[in-house]
Symmetry: C2
Subunit: 590 residues, 2 copies
């Protein structure tokens, strides 16, 4: 299907938007009335500019609230409509959108509306254009797609058809199954948008919180399959009103939008992409401003230095966990995960797939990396690169780390939704329900993404503005390491004198009220500063935090009985403990 995007999805001037859509690789664009009204270019020049960039004007969205009124009022509305049809013709659009009346409709009379649609069809047809009638979820009398379609059919004019917008259908939980009863030759246009799982009224959700496909919770693959079944051959056009996209870099948002259509195409295609889904984490690479401190923390945690380490890069191994440490360039203030290697069945296929999903790649000799929106470099490998590495002698004993359980990745606030889609599309991960974590300085948004068996887990976090560097003593990124026995690990760390995060006594008093734990169990948790959680199906989770060493802290954790979360109920206690006991000096000193 052809790809299209409404210019309202993007920030910038109309000229900037057109350039960004062409640069991303869209086939066409939808133009809104306000784009034209605000532009110094004449409508004809706008159309020519669009075509000079190799794009098509797929639709023009003019005035609203035209139909469903007394004949006398309709005459004035029809005159306004005719002016906008002239404008659409000058733009070179094949048709105009007509949204169901939300404000001024006075007549709940299907025959009258159909007659008025017939007249509007005549006006459009006189200029060689069509009219696509669309039900808005908050339309006064017409709010469902099947109602809009019945009216368009009753209009009985070849220039009158309908437009399906996934947002208006799915935001009110409407049924997709009627779509295949529509005749394809009257389905003139399809608009597509996803949305967060918020219980907002549809109007507010629509105006501010729409998302690109793959960033929210709607069943858009089902929507696309339904319109394909009908035989619709027009473009799939993104129409996403989003407060963040409105203020983001225009080119970046355009690429993000086209990626969402590529991802949707993959979801609805019959080809399988198992070869490209990440199977496990092979290594994580940390770029640290304080590499010596990070290395001592890894050594104390029982990692062995690989003999392949060199001056500018050290490699650390423990069972299946591999951590690479490099020094951050001087201009990077915050510590970050610099990259990760993911094991996939077929490296070449994974890279080709990432490129298809518009993941920007960088090739250096034999190695190709994909760059995530948060700047993490992702490398694909076919089998473990850690097993055969020679180790340097004389290191501390392992503490039972078996694997990297999860990697926490700090996201730029304005690229969070893009990041979710990227890790879905490029690494084949599945997002869980996002959670808010209360830190003493604000709510942190936390979004886990996992592969099918939980062997790859990323946790994307967005810090609130209140966590300005001077208020935030917690490094934004950490590693979760899975151990075989949390209490053994705690004892080993204690014997070595590793600084651990102290958990308040009051937390354990509360645990006693929440769970059926024996006094011995409670005392053991308390003494080891281990946090504990249970899920409703009997799964159990233990977690333990080191203090920050330079710009890294580690979580040691044990999962039991299929526990699949991350101890979210403990997170506020952990954050408060970190904020109140750590200081800038702790986390920044070399």
């Amino acid at each position: 299907m052809r790809s299209s995007i409404a210019t309202v999805c993007l920030a910038g001037t109309l000229e900037e938007k057109i350039e960004a859509c062409a640069h991303a690789g869209f086939d066409g664009i939808e133009i809104m009335d306000m784009d034209v009204i605000s532009s110094r270019l004449s409508p004809r020049a706008i159309g020519e500019l669009v075509r000079s960039f190799g794009l098509t004007v797929e639709l023009f969205q003019p005035i609203r609230d035209v139909e469903g009124v007394q004949p006398s009022a309709f005459a004035a509305n029809a005159r306004r409509f005719a002016r906008k049809v002239d404008l659409a013709a000058e733009l070179g659009a094949p048709g105009v959108l007509l949204c169901s009346n939300v404000g001024t409709a006075t007549e709940q009379d299907d025959a009258l509306i159909a007659d008025q649609l017939h007249q509007l069809g005549g006006i459009a047809a006189a200029s060689g254009l069509w009219v696509a009638y669309e039900a808005l979820a908050w339309g006064k009398y017409v709010a469902t797609y099947d109602h809009a379609w019945r009216l368009a059919a009753a209009a009985d004019h070849s220039a009158v058809g309908t437009c399906l917008d996934s947002f208006h259908i799915l935001s009110i939980g409407d049924d997709l199954s009627e779509i295949d009863t529509l005749p394809a030759d009257r389905l003139f246009f399809c608009q597509i948008a996803d949305a967060r799982g918020l219980s907002l009224d549809p109007l507010t959700r629509s105006r501010h919180h729409r998302l690109f496909p793959g960033q929210g919770v709607f069943d858009l693959a089902g929507f696309v399959r339904a319109v394909q079944t009908v035989g619709y051959s027009g473009p799939l056009s993104l129409e996403v009103f989003n407060d963040v996209f409105r203020q983001s870099d225009t080119r970046t948002t355009a690429v993000d939008g086209l990626r969402s259509l590529r991802y949707l195409e993959r979801l609805t295609s019959s080809t399988q992409h198992q070869a490209t889904a990440a199977k496990s984490v092979d290594a994580v690479s940390l770029t640290s401003a304080h590499p010596a401190m990070v290395e001592s923390l890894l050594a104390l945690t029982g990692f062995t230095r690989s003999a392949l380490s060199h001056e500018h890069e050290s490699v650390w191994l423990q069972a299946d966990a591999q951590v690479v440490v490099t020094e951050a360039s001087a201009d990077r203030e915050l510590p970050m995960v610099g990259g990760m290697a993911l094991r996939v069945p077929d490296v070449a296929a994974a890279i080709a797939s990432a490129e298809d999903q518009l993941g920007p790649t960088r090739t250096d000799g034999p190695v190709t990396e994909v760059i995530a929106p948060d700047r993490t470099r992702i490398r694909f490998v076919s089998s473990s690169t850690a097993g055969g590495q020679p180790k340097t002698p004389g290191t501390l004993a392992p503490i039972g780390v078996v694997a990297i359980d999860h990697i926490s990745l700090a996201q730029p606030w304005d690229r969070f939704d893009e990041g979710v889609l990227f890790y879905r599309a490029v690494a084949g991960l599945r997002p869980l329900v996002p959670v808010d974590i209360a830190d003493p300085r604000g709510l942190i948004l936390s979004q886990a993404l996992e592969n099918d068996d939980g062997s790859v887990r990323l946790v994307l976090t967005v810090d609130p503005s209140g966590l300005r560097p001077e208020n935030n003593h917690v490094p934004p990124t950490h590693l979760g390491l899975r151990v075989t026995d949390i209490f053994h690990a705690a004892e080993a760390m204690a014997e070595r004198g590793v600084g651990m995060l102290r958990i308040p006594d009051n937390y354990y008093d509360d645990l006693a009220a929440r769970f059926e734990l024996t006094d011995v169990e409670l005392e053991r948790l308390r003494r080891s500063n281990v946090l504990y959680d249970e899920d409703s199906s009997g799964g159990r989770y233990w977690q333990l935090y080191t203090r920050a060493y330079g710009d890294l802290f580690l979580e040691l954790l044990q999962r039991d009985g299929g526990y699949s979360g991350y101890g979210a109920s403990n997170a506020p206690v952990r954050r408060a403990a970190q904020q109140s006991t750590w200081t800038s000096a702790d986390t920044r000193r070399r």
Copy 2:
């Protein structure tokens, strides 16, 4: 009524919150379970710390989802509850809150719930405490205050009463009229919160978008009058979950909260405060980084320089409009309105009233100023200070400016709600419905506040992050000047060669579709770059913008037929024109 605040309203550690509440002047605080769980202090030490600051622990909020379950499950819940009652006693709280079960309730059986509340009352009474049962708006079976109250009465235990939370009652549009049927001796507690006029589900609105009284749309004066009529003598306790407050300066938020209670007290008191409400704008003071350019713009617009001007401050007059220009200190990057003088019937009463409403004041000689959250200095005067001033000769003719119509004030993003309350409480202004304005770089939040006759109008705006200085060529602040004849003013400005904002032709083509204007009228608007609007009752509005001179631009406007808005439908066109035709150099050059 005593003033109290839930610690969850504030950012910071528990110690920081306690200090800030005492500093603001609250009588008491509510403590939440998580405050205790996250603290290293023992519950007893927390209570002692609160009292050492002269505060009272008014309530403890422990576990939820206790009642409305099978007797076997209730036994475990009651044990957990008993532990939390012990904790409340150690804190020195007089009682605990019990919210209606939202999750685990299995029994929709009023008799069973009443019996279980009776048992919980017994547990609390054994420690000398009470239980206040509160209906959450999203409670599984108990969701309205009268239902919670009937159950508390049916519990038939002197230690069981109810808690009224304005949020849960007003967010579902419940009727306040039943409140006066409650017996006062069982109304144990009152929590108070306002909220924005959003159609969110109550849960999301509650967790993220509550506001302090006077910052939202709830009828809280009605709520307070109702509980006063009952004879409630406990504290009025703010319980406001707000994403922004959670990341704001703790002390500032505490003062904002106490101001909201002072304001509410004034609304519900019988005393009139007409003497302190602003009657008109006497003068506005601009602190400019480019005073010479600002002064030339004022001169070209027909202002006369007062002979009272001196080297560091010039005063400009035209009819009732008075503008003072001073040079900004070098460290201020953005231009701002530095201050304003408002005419009030009684200056001393206005200052005393502002101090009562916790407006910080600064006195310099005979002049006392109140400092707004956006740092604007507000001075009160009793009559016009402009009329009698001698003017310097040789200036340009007036262009018909009659008064300062409105002052646009840029707000820090995290102090917007505080600003709304401040201008309500201190200047007696009334907020209109806020609007979003689409700029090419993001949505601008715009909130007008006015006095009764519209002679004082402030427009508070918050820029999105996308309007970083490098993206934003529009000074954040401007003045709207009312003229007698917009076309005369336009001609005078044109003759003098003043740079005016050019409006695109497409805008006028759209006007032709929207309004019944003659070709002559349209052509006159187009030629003069005048924007036009009509309201539904026949009011008309004309507006015209100068280019930026240094860090100021002016809007010249004419109102007719009772038009009371600000031309919001024109704002996107105006912003786009400003962003695309102005450059950094335009607005920053000296």
